[in-house]
């Protein structure tokens, strides 16, 4: 039995079925991301005023790498342009150009994920260290000549684990001083001063991971969920570019509609990032 309205519009909605379906799905996605954005904003506005880590639960600012975040934004904007040009190429009956644009889109998606994993790795080796004299400092740590890596949870350190493994001292590349807005303080060195700290002087030690602060908990939750959407979208668009492209010969109109639906999802995922970037990186 043939499924109706796969390419012809339904008389009552004026749209083919998949387009109604994707918009219903995107509506549910808006509710999902909307709830997470609300959680972020409520935690953000109710956080104590002050400079983190001096004030323990103050909202951290200036911790994320804005040039890398901006570059990733440009990568996603480029991918949205190429996905719509791929769809337009099919509308103009140019399959070869469609495939080129689709491959660029998928490459952009994987570039985004690669850059994001680099950012994650940086956060997992970045620590806040509270000392016996009441001071707190942040920086990348080195234990026995090794930096922690994010794909290896056994690399995560705590004071108890350092004591258990009889580590006497750790090296810390201390971050430059920042003002309350997260900008480097006037006259502060841009380089990192390397200090050796005795483990006996450390009260607590925590990496920039979800357990350390609500900021990291929400940051990792939203960006990881977004990253999964990027991965899912890239796999589907990659399928359309190669194995799924057989449909172009048997049913070109339905194939064009599939690309449009895939493009709508891709635009939604990119639009989430357009909101996420200023909220998490800049504000």
């Amino acid at each position: 039995m043939e499924i109706p309205y796969t390419y012809k519009p339904r008389p009552d909605t004026g749209l083919y079925n998949a387009k109604v379906g994707i918009w219903l799905f995107l509506a549910s996605e808006i509710m999902l991301f909307g709830a997470l954005f609300s959680a972020y904003i409520l935690l953000r506005v109710s956080a104590p005023v002050g400079f983190w880590p001096d004030v323990a639960l103050a909202w951290p600012r200036g911790l994320l790498n804005i040039p890398i975040g901006t570059f990733n934004t440009a990568v996603l904007i480029t991918s949205s342009v190429t996905v719509v040009l791929a769809w337009a190429a099919l509308k103009m009956n140019n399959f070869a150009r469609f495939r080129v644009y689709m491959v660029i889109t998928v490459l952009c998606a994987f570039a985004f994920l690669g850059i994001k994993s680099f950012e994650y790795n940086d956060k997992f080796s970045h620590y806040v260290i509270r000392l016996q004299d009441g001071k707190a400092l942040t920086g990348h740590i080195e234990v026995d000549g090794k930096h922690p890596r994010f794909w290896n949870f056994s690399d995560q350190w705590s004071v108890a684990k350092l004591a258990e493994q009889k580590v006497a001292k750790i090296k810390v590349e201390v971050d430059p001083e920042r003002d309350i807005n997260g900008h480097p303080k006037k006259g502060a060195s841009h380089g990192h001063e390397v200090r050796e700290i005795a483990v006996s002087d450390i009260v607590s030690l925590g990496s920039y991971t979800p357990a350390t602060h609500p900021f990291f908990a929400v940051y990792f939750l939203i960006t990881a969920l977004h990253g999964l959407h990027v991965l899912g979208g890239a796999l589907v668009l990659g399928y359309f570019a190669f194995p799924g492209a057989k449909m172009w010969k048997s049913n070109p109109e339905q194939f064009i509609n599939r690309i449009e639906v895939g493009g709508l999802f891709w635009h939604f995922v990119d639009l989430v990032w357009i909101f996420l970037f200023p909220v998490v990186y800049l504000l």
Partner: protein, 68 residues
């Protein structure tokens, strides 16, 4: 809403984001006097112009495709 219409919404959102980034960087420059922020602000302003030009090109290129 078709992909064409959603793309226009997306480009408009990108223009607003880049304008915001430009303003944010300029304020950070005024606060810190760091040239990096000024360069960042200028780059974001240039990308606003680039995105508007692209938006016009896109509308011209796809003028025969419906917004529905």
């Amino acid at each position: 809403m078709s992909l064409k219409a959603f793309h226009i919404v997306f480009v408009a959102a990108s223009v607003i984001l880049m304008a915001f980034l430009s303003g944010w960087s300029f304020l950070a420059y005024q606060e810190t006097h760091s040239m990096e922020y000024l360069v960042w602000s200028l780059c974001a302003a240039i990308s606003v112009v680039g995105l508007v030009i692209y938006g016009r090109f896109f509308l011209r290129k796809l003028r025969n495709i419906s917004f529905l």
